[in-house]
Symmetry: C2
Subunit: 347 residues, 2 copies
DNA sequence: CTGAAAGCGCTTACAG
DNA sequence: CTGAAAGCGCTTACAG
């Protein structure tokens, strides 16, 4: 940097100011400086800048360590966050701290490497959020707690559920099951599980639909069992919604075992599943696809705005999933429902 | 740090030496210092340390931007690398630079934020590798080029193929197809595609087996078409190996359309697919599971050793995938092969 | 619109 | 085994 200053015949500080535009520089000077930087192939040193300015321009995202494992959507969050950070001159580091072990997180934040953190897999009452609030450490969430403090972006679960139900009831379905994630995640207050449960119950009741929900662990086996149970206990079901990717193959298997055809006898709609996941199933599933890229981007921008004082007052943003048609949902034909399975079917 | 020094009644530099053990400190002094650090809740500042020492203790991993999209295994690399880095006192940042756009990568490395980088999705002749070599910038690869320079860790594709073929030929299969990834990735010299192709051809020839390979784009539709073609052109096939996750549902669909049952009529083995992916299929696939976590860990350790001068001479490590049985592979029963499909089958 | 100088919080020769 | 001091490459009041 000193070399640049010399070559441009200005002082060191002028180069610095030119670099980050914190005070007016004459056109002429600026030109000489950029020319000198060009010629010397100069690049500012991020560590030095960080040390002097107290801002590292490094963000962290917390890698969730979760029972169901990381999926495509979580991956999109991270990738999109990295990309957005980079576009804004930031770097993104990944940290994997246990959700319920805020001590690790405390260590990491207090190190001072990072300006702010992005949380995902947020719980209704999240120890990490409580910690960051207490430390007054800048953060945003993909997801949200119950209290509406701090900025967040999240999926609009009400809207998503409404759209999915509207899709099915528009096809004539009135008896709809919902296979949620596990009881354990519900008990732990994991946002999506809690919110979809409530939305499903409220909305089916309000629309006079017959709704039944099941928790289900994230495995094909658990999906198989849950679905078998559902089909025996509720033989008149004509549609199943599933927010549990890993249970899906078991669910489809159970449906086939009951000699039901999708979508003729039973419609299946995936909730908050990426299209890529929906395409892995036979038949390709109709899904409510989550806006993974958008959420990652918005969360990152929100955090950066916050850090740079351009905060629009910690916005709360929710975005619904959008319906992507597959081949697993179709008109309800109550004549060919489960109750008639023994009658066989013509082509 | 000065506060710590004062409280421990030693000089600033002694605290520093105690911290990173670069010179002997008496037991007594060390105790006073750690006590003082404890009491003041002192944490060393990584940026300052980095600036002074010329080592940021930050690593980068290049996010692949690829046609087939990121999968579970790639995710394991990243997660495992982050974890290993953290265990060794490093941080991991994610960068997404285009594979064939080394300019971005040059920018990023020359910034000086990062001590070394981990490459994945390495091609036989990889512009990123050439760049990093030219810049003499420390790096390791998950994957490898054709020349055996620099340290790497990679899947042992020969061994993996051998194991898969042994599994199938042990079950009596002699006519085996291999659905690889796309022609485009082969032409681009993407390591896994090139190496499995060669291994498959060499080994089937050497064992006197009937082998046929197909390239296939990463989509169910492409898988469907490729498999249909295979089954019509090679009606005596009894086994198919697939290294193409996204094509899998189409392949299974095509098999079902030909009225073939898995595994009675046709065995299917996934190659380099995670068990989690194999479980998404019906029936659950037999797969050669890649050692994702291990590769991520080893690559990171290799890089760190390299940076810290503990290099064991840039080791070249390959690890085979290991067989995880599913329900998609079984004994070859040539009486019930495709050629007999019209004869029907007893339960 | 521009300069001279202190300081960010460490590491590491240099000296004893 | 321990200290005093220079320096890493920037930012940012302070002054003009």
């Amino acid at each position: 940097m000193l070399d640049v200053a010399k070559r441009a015949k200005v002082s060191l500080s002028t180069v610095s100011y030119a670099l980050n535009g914190t005070r007016p520089i004459s056109e002429e000077t600026r030109r000489r400086i950029s020319k000198a930087m060009e010629e010397l192939d100069y690049r500012p040193h991020p560590l030095a800048r960080g040390l002097a300015s107290k801002h590292s321009r490094i963000l962290a995202i917390l890698f969730p360590v979760i029972e169901r494992g990381i999926g495509i959507t979580e991956f999109e969050f991270i990738n999109s966050a990295a990309h957005t950070a980079s576009q804004n001159g930031y770097h993104l580091v990944v940290w994997s701290a246990e959700t319920n072990e805020p001590d690790e997180l405390r260590q990491l934040t207090q190190q001072g490497l990072v300006d702010g953190v992005i949380l995902m897999e947020v719980h209704i009452n999240d120890p990490r959020v409580n910690l960051l609030r207490k430390l007054e450490f800048p953060f945003t969430m993909i997801g949200r707690c119950d209290d509406d403090q701090d900025g967040y972006v999240d999926i609009d679960f009400d809207g998503t559920m409404e759209h999915a139900i509207r899709h099915l009831s528009g096809l004539g379905h009135t008896r709809i099951a919902f296979v949620n994630q596990s009881q354990a995640t519900y008990d732990a207050g994991y946002g999506p599980v809690v919110r979809t449960k409530k939305a499903f119950e409220d909305q089916t009741a309000a629309s006079g639909l017959n709704g039944v929900m099941r928790f289900c662990r994230p495995s094909p086996q658990a999906g198989f069992e849950a679905c078998k149970e559902l089909l025996s206990e509720h033989p008149k079901l004509t549609a199943i919604m599933v927010m549990n990717d890993r249970a899906l193959p078991g669910i489809l298997q159970a449906i086939a075992d009951h000699n039901l055809k999708i979508p003729q006898d039973l419609s299946v709609v995936a909730l908050v599943s990426s299209v890529r996941m929906a395409e892995m199933m036979i038949p390709k599933l109709t899904t409510m696809e989550p806006p993974g890229v958008e959420l990652g981007k918005l969360a990152t921008e929100l955090l950066i705005n916050n850090l740079e004082g351009k905060s629009d007052g910690s916005p709360r943003i929710v975005i619904p999933c959008h319906l992507v048609m597959g081949e697993s949902s179709g008109p309800c034909n109550s004549n060919t429902g489960y109750q008639n399975q023994q009658g066989g079917k013509l082509p």
